[in-house]
């Protein structure tokens, strides 16, 4: 049985922990709002980009001179996985969920006899995947110093991926990130980047069926547009991740704060009970001493 002093110390330390988790929760809440705003501000661009891409693929598609980034290499042997995770931990299962999805994917691809290469974005994903597939990781990108993710960060990653593709480093590229559904729900997602999946139908009516003039040629525009689209997709993934990370951190820290509260209550009850027991014991001793006289 712990002594009263031990209990007092224990309560004090749990209280200190609670203060920390509470503060972290509030910081995450503030950052979440900013991350969400950034994600929302970036949405129009990717939407418009999707619409433009849909239009132009329709125009080029018939000629069959789509650039390699879109058509792919025609093979399916070497897969590149770009796994985006957070830079920091303490956000519940956020990082491990993404890593788990990626790991399952790697296992499946290897079972099919494909070669797998991995690029990790974010320190935590690298830490987790390094345990199982350290030989497969060809590059890691850390965004630790980046306060607010800018398009330039995403662009740099996209350039790396495209350069690798042009060297014939891989055939298929898949992007792993966590889709931000809501503060309490982030869904790990795999999205194929290269060859670019054709934009969903149903966006066709944007042009109102108009016949476009292209300046320069559609093929040329397309070969400029597709690398940019890859950057945009990566950018979107990074922003969703940032928002998701903060959401996950917020709920994880909320849970931690609540658990600490429960623990304090329990410890306080034990402490009070024990103190009372001691008082009672002392009283009994005094009384029985008095009776003996």
């Amino acid at each position: 049985m712990a002594s009263l002093k031990d209990l007092r110390n224990r309560i004090a330390s749990v209280k200190a922990t609670q203060k920390i988790t509470k503060a972290m929760q509030m910081v995450a809440a503030a950052k979440l709002r900013r991350a969400q705003e950034a994600a929302e501000a970036a949405r129009p661009y990717s939407q418009r980009m999707g619409a433009v891409l849909a239009n132009i693929t329709k125009a080029v598609g018939s000629n069959g001179d789509a650039p390699a980034l879109m058509a792919g290499t025609g093979r399916d042997d070497v897969h590149l996985l770009v796994v985006c995770t957070a830079e920091r931990g303490l956000c519940g299962g956020f990082n491990s969920q993404i890593a788990r999805l990626a790991r399952e994917h790697v296992r499946k691809l290897r079972a099919d006899g494909k070669t797998v290469k991995i690029i990790t974005v974010g320190k935590k994903g690298n830490d987790i995947l390094r345990r199982d597939f350290s030989s497969l990781i060809i590059d890691k990108i850390e965004l630790r110093e980046v306060k607010q993710i800018g398009f330039a960060n995403a662009d740099a990653i996209a350039k790396k991926v495209i350069a690798l593709f042009n060297q014939g480093g891989f055939d298929v590229c898949t992007l792993f990130y966590s889709e931000f559904k809501s503060v309490i729900s982030q869904v790990p997602t795999a999205q194929q980047l290269i060859p670019a999946a054709a934009p969903a139908a149903g966006e066709e009516d944007v042009s109102g069926g108009a016949v476009y003039e292209y300046e320069p040629e559609p093929g040329e525009i397309l070969s400029d547009l597709i690398p940019r689209n890859i950057s945009v997709q990566i950018f979107r993934a990074l922003l969703e991740n940032a928002a998701g990370e903060m959401g996950a951190k917020m709920s994880a820290m909320d849970n931690a704060t609540r658990n600490a509260g429960d623990m304090i209550n329990k410890l306080t009850i034990t402490y009070n009970r024990q103190r009372q027991a001691q008082i009672t014991k002392e009283l009994i001793e005094i009384i029985s001493g008095a009776e003996a006289l």
Partner: protein
Amino acid sequence: MAEAFKFELVSPERLLVSEEVQSVVIPGAEGEMTVLAQHAPVMTTIKPGVVTVKSVNGQEERYVVFGGFADILPSGCTLLAESATSVKDIDRAELARRIQEAREDAADAKDDEAKTRAEAFLAQLTTLEGAILPA
């Protein structure tokens, strides 16, 4: 009074402009062009330059863009810029950095084609610098 149409200037980070305007001057890859309402549908890439937006009440607003696309329809015009800033708060250092980078690219371009492209880009940037410096 010219007819108004919808103009949107979007950069990956945010939506900069979304309003009814009279005319927009776009630095197209094949030359500058002015877009008015009821313009024929055109899709063009844009080079680094200045976009001049004339709003309905006649006010002119200038933005610096670094490459991107313009999607022009009779009903409106959408400009997807790689990066866009208002001329008022353009960062000179940023521009200088880009020029420096372009210069390095041009210097270590491997084949002739890449070199021509890098040099063209550099020329566009320096023209741009010249265009906005006196402002």
